[in-house]
């Protein structure tokens, strides 16, 4: 563990990523305490530039809502969406990938055809269809993002299972008379998990970007303080008050950057051979 931390800390970009991630988590945690009021409620005169009024250090948007409050509460929304959607995608991916890789044969064929179908269909298009059928409440949106993001983790898990399923310890489990489900989830999965967990950082980065794009198009939940919503709102006053869109964009950029840097750092620390690439 200590060695792992030392390996991780050796890469400056991984450390920067961790610091940025801690900053975003800090914003999410302190949101209620620093901005106890509803971030979507009227706070003051609309369209005040950042710094113009000491009460609103990031200014106000076109509806007179505090941008700083929306950024802090938005951090919570972004992280929550990222975590939940990623968990859904990774769990679906692991189950499908594990079953396909473990059993092989026609089970594998069928599951891989379904996976390919999901990969052939543009992610964002499928997301649009799901939202237009099931509505754009925040819970629906999160589940929909999870539903479109599982193919890559599934392929990764399958590849791991294909290489692990004929190892001796699996044969030993079979001889002991263990059930398939036990072998898959108790014995093989722990060995197959590390690369999938690292890849989860990519899924999370994409999930946050997907939600913000959806919110920007006003197809996500308008009753949630999401950064994408604020960018979409700021588009109406883009020509002069461009800061309304600019500020939440920077927040998204920092969050996605932090998540992918930490993922890369984990990857390098777990695969020391690849270091220096």
């Amino acid at each position: 563990m200590i060695r792992f931390l030392r390996d991780y800390a050796r890469s400056p970009s991984a450390v920067v990523g961790l610091l940025l991630l801690l900053l975003v988590i800090g914003m999410a945690v302190s949101a209620d305490w620093l901005f106890p009021n509803d971030p979507l409620s009227l706070a003051g005169r609309p369209l005040q530039w950042p710094g113009a009024n000491p009460r609103f250090w990031l200014g106000t948007d076109n509806s007179g809502r505090d941008i700083a409050a929306q950024i802090f509460h938005g951090a919570r929304v972004a992280l929550l969406i990222g975590l939940v959607a990623t968990s859904i995608a990774v769990v679906i991916g692991i189950v499908i990938g594990a079953v396909a890789g473990f059993y092989g044969g026609w089970v594998d064929d069928v599951l891989m055809r379904v996976t390919e179908a999901f990969q052939t269909l543009p992610n964002f298009l499928l997301l649009l269809v799901l939202v237009s059928v099931f509505g754009s409440e925040i819970a629906t949106v999160v589940v929909a993002i999870g539903m479109v993001s599982w193919p890559a983790p599934a392929r990764l898990t399958r590849a791991e299972f294909l290489s692990l399923r004929s190892r001796e310890f699996v044969e030993a489990c079979r001889t002991l008379g263990m059930r398939d489900a036990q072998i898959i989830f108790r014995e093989i999965l722990p060995n197959a998990l590390p690369p999938v967990i690292v890849y989860a950082s990519v899924v999370m980065a994409v999930a946050i970007l997907l939600e913000s794009a959806l919110a920007f198009l006003r197809l996500s939940d308008p009753n949630v303080s999401s950064w994408g919503n604020l960018i979409g709102l700021g588009r109406d006053v883009l020509r002069v008050q461009w800061y309304v869109s600019a500020i939440p964009g920077v927040a998204i950029l920092i969050t996605v950057l932090a998540v992918s840097l930490v993922g890369q750092g984990l990857n390098d620390a777990l695969n020391p051979r690849l270091r220096g690439r």
Binding site: R113, E116, P122, L128, V129, S132, F134, G228, I252
Partner: protein, 326 residues
């Protein structure tokens, strides 16, 4: 050479079928059907008999499996149905919108591929030097930038403040440009959308190219080439590049879908009349026939791009053609 690509093309048919059946069943869950949309457009009114007749006309009174078969049979005949919102066949609506999206995707892909290649090679040749640090950092930042936000900021900078480029649309209306002027005018409208859509792919390509160059540079044949006395530029262009490009070519196929998805957002930002914008409008206006048609065409496009990538791949790597006995 054709056999492998052809086999992969045939293998994509089941996936296409899964998509179509899945989408059809999924849209059965959507509230309201074509007739509801039509009636709403005609000003509501609850004439039950007319509604029933219309349902029978569109075949909506049949059972779900029968309708599914009907739908698939019509697709085979390339009949995508009728858009009640646009008042035209869906195929016509999509064909009108396809050129803008194809233009945008080709331009973005070329931009991302060319500069990804260039920056990847520079970074790999100066690995851990300042050029590498700058390029790799930019790659990370571009990867994390939401495309729609980059597009908006580009509009603020280049269209509002500097006034160099148009903020949206496909061409200047009312200027009456013809010939080369019209081409240049359209091209100027595509500059910002191309950069916006291409940015994230540029980031991905340069990262892959850098890693792949570093990998290939350690191989024996590169040492042989150097030992023959070839200068470094020739080693790179004649020997390393061709091999290092293979992962990038694979990536084009894998990301064709992502790019189409990205065009939904980018076309909305720049109000380009393309397929992505049409998808967005179809969602907002609940035009499910059109949406289904777009899904079908997009899947076909992705399959087509992958077929081209397979062909290209076999050309770049003769070993593949040999292995399959092409």
């Amino acid at each position: 050479m054709l056999t492998l690509a052809g086999r992969r093309l045939a293998a994509s048919i089941p996936s296409l079928l899964i998509i179509l059946v899945g989408m059809f069943l999924l849209l059965q869950l959507a509230p309201g059907d074509t007739v509801d949309a039509l009636m709403a457009q005609m000003g509501g009114g609850g004439d039950a008999q007319l509604t029933a007749e219309l349902r029978a006309f569109y075949g909506l009174d049949l059972s779900v499996p029968a309708r599914l078969l009907n739908y698939l049979w019509r697709l085979v005949q390339l009949d995508l149905g009728f858009s009640s919102i646009y008042g035209k066949p869906v195929a016509t609506v999509i064909l009108e919108r396809l050129p803008a999206t194809l233009c945008l995707m080709t331009a973005s892909l070329s931009f991302a591929f060319f500069f990804g290649l260039l920056f990847g090679v520079i970074a790999a040749r100066r690995v851990n030097g300042w050029q590498d640090t700058v390029i790799s950092t930019l790659g990370l930042v571009f990867y994390a930038t939401p495309s729609f936000w980059f597009g908006l900021m580009a509009i603020v900078l280049f269209s509002v403040h500097l006034q160099w480029l148009p903020a949206g649309g496909m061409e200047s209306i009312g200027e009456g440009f013809t010939g080369i002027h019209r081409v240049l005018d359209i091209a100027s409208h595509f500059v910002l959308p191309t950069l916006t859509l291409g940015l994230i792919f540029l980031a991905i390509y340069l990262r892959i190219m850098r890693a792949s160059m570093l990998e290939v540079l350690t191989l024996d044949f590169v040492r042989t080439a150097r030992a023959k006395g070839l200068d470094e530029t020739r080693v790179i262009t004649r020997h390393v590049l061709r091999n290092a490009m293979l992962p990038m070519v694979t990536l084009i196929g894998l990301q064709a879908g992502t790019m189409l998805g990205g065009s939904v957002v980018v076309e909305s930002v720049f109000s380009l009349p393309g397929l992505g914008r049409l998808a967005y409008e179809a969602v907002v206006q609940r035009d499910l026939n059109t949406l289904l048609g777009i899904v079908f065409i997009s899947a076909l496009l992705v399959i087509l791009v992958n077929f081209c990538v397979d062909l290209l791949y076999a050309r770049l790597d003769p070993r593949i053609a040999k292995e399959t006995g092409g």
